[in-house]
Subunit: 379 residues, 2 copies
DNA sequence: TGAGATAAGTTTAGGCATCAAACTTATTGG
DNA sequence: CCAATAAGTTTGATGCCTAAACTTATCTCA
């Protein structure tokens, strides 16, 4: 009962920062008395702080503003990329306190060695002297989220790695550890920090192509966490062979590597300069990727009836060149398109989305069900 | 609180019919005292009945078996087909008490005239003298389930029909009215009465092709209830024009009408006899439909990672001829297929699934949240 | 400047569902 | 027929919520 209502109240405060107790009561349908007692508990636990009394138009006592505490528990996010390890520390409101990025060729290292680096990164962040409420880890592969096990990460060459267990062992931190697929966490970050859309596919093009599907403000994980794995949708049955064993996979036709190869450049940075300069080969390469992306996305959009496509990762920066051909392809293939066209937008977080999602996920767990945390602090 | 626990307890009784109060307590984690009081309430409201005391292996008092009451509130389901109106009455356990089927060319009638017939069907069922706890209506079109409004039903030629409102007006029955898409309700029926699979796509081929997607024992409705509308997935970009305005829609290539046309027969019945007789044209027609079906289903299966495809409606009876080419197509196109092949099974309910789903949905609403019903009965 | 009006937030008394533990009832087996 | 065992009920305590009265703070108007 209290558990449920605590979540309700905290959610109201998060949704409307600066609300008074009375406003929260009106919003949640609880009585002022109940809200008062729950809020006091959460202030005691350091989740909520009181702010200035707000002005009001007419007569009457002014309400005291309530906010999520910026010095409350922080979420620590780590992203294990193919060639880097990114870390960031966010507070309850989602603001980034500090971030780190260190290059690391994880493809060439064993899981053990990489996780040791992750542990070092975590220890560095812990030195910031802010309370850590949870740890989130984003990995570019298939994750069984319940156990925190990485089943397979093709682009790292890893299989069956008990990420949660390993990290629990390597860092003495007694906090919940969330392990998630990089694309899924990026989609969640977009949900929390984006333009407010609650239904979309978020495609992030890094070395691989991942998609996170958000329906009704909830991540759609699919049956075995495999949901939304769009990278290996076979878009061209007669296309080139893919390391996964199939033919004409999206990733093979629209991934970063393929764009770079087709454009004849050294990497994504050069690709961007060439595009800006109007280089014909580069433009063609991106246009072709957009077309294949459109084929795969239209299947998702048709089936799940999603109104929005968010371009994340490398695709975010390529948006000016991707958008038009992608929208054309979608308009052609999506059945409800002429009635309600699919919106294509660039992610506001870009390549940073995954870490932000990992860090956010760690604190969101507290926000979604604060009572256990409150109880543990007050005990 | 009580509301939540009532649902918990009733769910335990439904899942394990014949359990004792003590067993339910163990299963739900509530105390025996709490379970006793909740069960007594539900017995009072006529949802639950006590059965014989069960034998037990050792010493100790025997528990009294608890069952969902077969004389409790019944669900009344009505299906508005293109050329028939089907009705059925089911009890809390899902057993069919009685069913009706009357031919009716609904394509040629106005919504008002058809809904008048539905009202008559409802009145007939009410004469059975069993308590009606809810009414479910299955329609072959796009439904906004919250309001009970039919947005559009291409195969009936209807648009914007307030089905719930109209029926509320025409029948004096004061019960909740559930309006749902025929394919979605059929999928739910399969979930409740099928072989226990909790994740599948259910495709039903009637005049149109509808799909219901069930993930984690929950119907996936999509953003605007449009989810899983597979009938107009464009499977062949260069295919024939479809009344919907697009080209090469699945429905146009694999629907009942197309199979019948391609086989050169008068209707589905004749198609079946010809198939049984080994008629070459009929076999080819079905094989082609299976191929297109495979194209559309593989997109769904890839994206949602579903392990099972259920053939419903007319397809259920065609399963012996559909299965092999369909499985071949899926094996080819589904990425995870060689690792975990997609199972193709025939629906156990066939053409009856939609009515069953409508009737079941009406009572499930009570099972899922019994307290309001209990309160209203005891008041 | 002060009384009246208005609204925020707190206190208090009461209700209701749950739980733990004691108790009653039913059954088996020596 | 009595000890052991388990189902189900009764009882008293606890915790959380609510309604309603109360206190505090602020504005407005005379």
């Amino acid at each position: 009962m209290r558990r449920h209502n605590s979540a309700l109240v905290l959610d109201a405060i998060a949704a409307g920062p600066g609300s008074s107790r009375a406003a929260v009561a009106a919003r949640t349908g609880l009585t002022k008395a109940t809200v008062s007692s729950l809020v006091d508990r959460m202030i005691g636990a350091g989740l909520v702080v009181e702010g200035e009394a707000q002005a009001r138009p007419g007569p009457g006592r002014r309400g005291t503003a309530l906010h999520l505490s910026p010095s409350g528990p922080h979420g620590l996010g780590v992203e294990i990329g193919v060639d880097y390890i990114a870390t960031c520390l966010v507070d309850l409101t989602g603001r980034v306190r500090k971030r780190w990025l260190r290059p690391s060729d994880n493809r060439a290292s064993s899981p053990g060695r990489v996780l040791a680096k992750v542990a070092t990164a975590v220890r560095t962040a812990v030195r910031e002297e802010v309370p850590i409420g949870g740890l989130g880890v984003a990995v570019p592969g298939l994750v069984e989220s319940a156990s925190g096990t990485l089943r397979v990460a093709p682009n790292l060459g890893w299989r069956e790695v008990d990420v949660r267990g390993e990290l629990d062992r390597r860092i003495g931190l007694d906090v919940p550890v969330l392990v998630g697929n990089e694309a899924n966490l990026a989609a969640l970050a977009e949900l929390w920090h984006g333009d407010g859309a609650a239904d979309f596919v978020h495609v992030s093009g890094e070395i691989g192509i991942g998609a996170g599907i958000v329906v009704d403000a909830q991540l759609f994980e699919g049956v075995s966490g495999f949901g939304g794995e769009i990278g290996h949708l076979p878009v061209d049955p007669r296309g080139p062979r893919c390391p996964c064993g199939s033919r004409g996979c999206l990733e093979r036709l629209a991934g970063q590597d393929e764009m770079v190869r087709a454009a004849g450049v050294s990497g994504p940075e050069e690709l961007l300069t060439r595009l800006a300069a109007g280089d014909r080969t580069a433009l063609m390469a991106v246009r072709s990727a957009a077309k294949w992306l459109g084929v795969a996305l239209s299947a998702a959009v048709n089936l799940l009836d999603l109104p929005t496509v968010v371009l994340g990762g490398t695709y975010a920066r390529l948006e000016p060149w991707l958008r038009e051909p992608l929208e054309a392809e979608l308009a052609n293939r999506v059945m409800s398109a002429e009635w309600a066209p699919v919106r294509v937008v660039a992610s506001s977080l870009g390549a940073e989305a995954a870490v932000r999602g990992a860090a956010g996920g760690a604190v969101r767990a507290i926000l979604a069900d604060p009572d256990p945390y409150v109880a543990s602090v007050l005990a």
